[in-house]
Amino acid sequence: MIEIKNLHKSYPIGKDSLHVLKGIDLHIREGEFVSIMGSSGSGKSTLLNIVGLLDEHDEGDYYLNGQLIKNLNEKKAAILRNKFLGFVFQSFNLISYKTALENVALPLYYKGVSRRERLKTAMEYLDKVGLKDWANHLPSELSGGQKQRVAIARALVTKPKVVLADEPTGALDSTTTDSVMDLLKDINDEGMTVFVITHEEEVAAQTKRVVRLKDGVIISDELTKKATQSA
């Protein structure tokens, strides 16, 4: 599903450049539940942004769903994101003036789905994350955990190949963290590839494979107990 070979990424800082990713090799198959662990500055967010087509890599090859990602213009990247990827962000990134239902339906708008169909599908996914009764509330009227569940519903609504979650629990307390992780696990159980970035061991422990990143290189890549349990 995701295949990365010898990936490099630098950011220019003044005259110098900061070498963030120094040759990453990673292969994630369909249906995996992977977490990337690392302290801040380890390059994990950069990796996710590149995987999510929000940023471009400098060197190396990246295949998404078998397709080589190279020299994408904004338009092509937008189409691929809409088709293959679902995003969950640490800060939720809901549009503040749209209701929960409208936020969930938005990716379908960019996919060209009719309004009636959009709202129907969005309602199904809101129901799935247990927020059907909150469909017509604005994000400001929801709790952090509820917001993140809306964001997850939004990430799932286009039936993407991969869900990318950047610190999905970073802004949540421990109880809501558990409920969000349970939700991601359920999604994975249904066969969806889920790719989580975190710096919390407890969160990583609930995934099936943990990739540890330090200073732009992978230092370990191992399956967790969960994986062996379910296997």
């Binding site: 942004n49 999510g52 929000l54 940023d55 904004e74 338009k75 937008a78 189409i79 994101r81 809409n82 088709k83 995003f87 962000f89 990134n93 809901l94 549009i95 003036y97 749209k98 409208e102 938005l106 990716p107 708008y109 960019y110 996919k111 309004r115 939004r154 286009t158």
Partner: protein, 410 residues
């Protein structure tokens, strides 16, 4: 391309962000309001000037005579000058190609009586062309014609108000009235756009007047309507030439301003035209300045709005929005706001102008201030273009920002 979903997005964005929409709309509405009022008031001034000259044809030249004020060729000061038929014929023959209409005038005061009613009125004995020079509107019957002149017919054309004075509601056409002891037939009744006095005048053939009042060939005045194909400068030159030639013919000193006077509407027109021209140039400068200020206002607000929405655009892009869809949305929203606000400003402006109406005519010479449809259309197109540019430039820049950068913005 009409995309209902796009419009829904835009209406939601506008209605959920009322303050910012009202702010950007207000700048444009206010600019257009000022623009409309400015143009309307100047048009009102222009209307007043046009009205002041509307009574008589704009292409008139009047020739009048009085006493000489300078000795010339051995003739004394204070000599009374008299225009005669031969002077009329001289003008007619010499300048035929430059003349559209030509008439002589003889002034008299007359007393009209009919049955038991009578009153005093001004009489003008004229040629048929007088109708066009004075813009006389014949309501009933007809005006004087060449046959009346040839036959020295005892016929008159009377003003609408004379008819009211003497006949009231009863028909006057074809009736005979007694005018200073002689019976005349009323062959026409006229009205005039000038003041009421113009509608209390009696017209009769110039030849009839010459026969009955003194049996001579005297005339009081010659009115020329110059060929409208002449431009103002040519018309002024023509007036000067008539003055020179007639002075020479009548043995008047070329610099004698008292003996023969030529009043040329072209000169007045030129003055008014220049004045209005300068006024319009000023208004166009100030008006476009106002519009530009409005456009800059909305551009500033759009730049701010788009900066504020950068994160939203980042989210939309992460969810699959293409740059063109973001640009399209912003531009459409901006055009919608400018057009609506501009229309509001325009409507309010025209409404205010209609409220003013003719109420400022007496004191400020502003009559019926209004804006022409050409200006309205021009201003609307300017607005839509302004909205396009004000939205497009910052939106294009915002759409180019990488989603990762946009998402980080606050």
């Amino acid at each position: 391309m009409f995309d209902l979903d796009r419009w829904r997005e835009i209406f939601q964005s506008i209605s959920k962000n009322k303050l910012r929409s009202v702010m950007s709309g207000f700048t444009v509405a206010f600019a257009i309001l000022l623009f409309t009022l400015l143009f309307g008031v100047v048009n009102g001034l222009s209307n007043t000037f046009k009205e002041a000259f509307a009574d008589d044809a704009m292409n008139s030249i009047f020739v009048r005579v009085w006493k000489t004020s300078k000795p010339y060729k051995g003739l004394q000061t204070g000599r009374r000058i008299q225009l005669k038929n031969k002077d009329y014929d001289f003008v007619k023959e010499n300048y035929e190609s430059k003349i559209e209409h030509l008439t002589a005038r003889i002034y008299r005061n007359v007393n009209i009586s009919y049955k038991n009613k009578q009153d005093n009125y001004n009489l003008r004995a004229v040629h048929p062309d007088h109708q066009f020079l004075e813009k006389t509107i014949v309501d009933e019957g007809r005006y004087l014609n060449d046959r009346d002149l040839k036959e020295r017919a005892k016929v008159i054309v009377i003003g609408r108000l004379i008819k009211e004075d003497i006949f009231g509601e009863k028909p006057a056409l074809g009736k005979r009235v007694n005018m200073n002891g002689i019976s005349y037939k009323i062959i026409g009744i006229f009205s005039d756009d000038g003041n009421d006095n113009e509608e209390r005048i009696v017209y009769m053939p110039v030849t009839t007047a010459q026969m009955l009042y003194g049996n001579n060939d005297y005339i009081s005045q010659i009115n020329v309507g110059y060929n409208p194909k002449l431009n103002l400068d040519q018309a002024i030159a023509f007036g000067n030439k008539i003055e020179r030639d007639l002075k020479k013919k009548l043995d008047i000193h070329p610099d004698d301003q008292s003996a023969l006077r030529v009043r040329n509407m072209a000169e007045a027109n030129k003055g008014v035209g220049q004045f209005m021209g300068i006024l319009y140039v000023l208004v166009i400068i100030i008006g476009s300045g106002t519009l530009i200020a409005g456009i800059i206002g909305i551009s500033n607000i759009m730049i701010f709005v788009i900066k504020e929405r950068t994160k939203e655009f980042g989210i939309r892009k992460a969810l699959g929005a293409q740059p063109s869809s973001i640009i399209g949305m912003v531009v459409q929203e901006s055009v919608l706001i400018t057009t609506l606000a501009g229309y509001l400003g325009l409507s309010f402006g025209t409404y205010l102008l209609s409220l003013i109406g003719n109420s400022l005519e007496e004191d400020y010479f502003i009559k019926d201030p209004s804006v022409s449809s050409g200006i309205v259309i021009g201003a609307t197109i300017t607005l839509i273009l302004a909205g396009l540019i004000a939205g497009y430039l910052p939106a294009k820049r915002a759409a180019r920002i990488k989603p990762i950068v946009a998402l980080r913005a606050d």
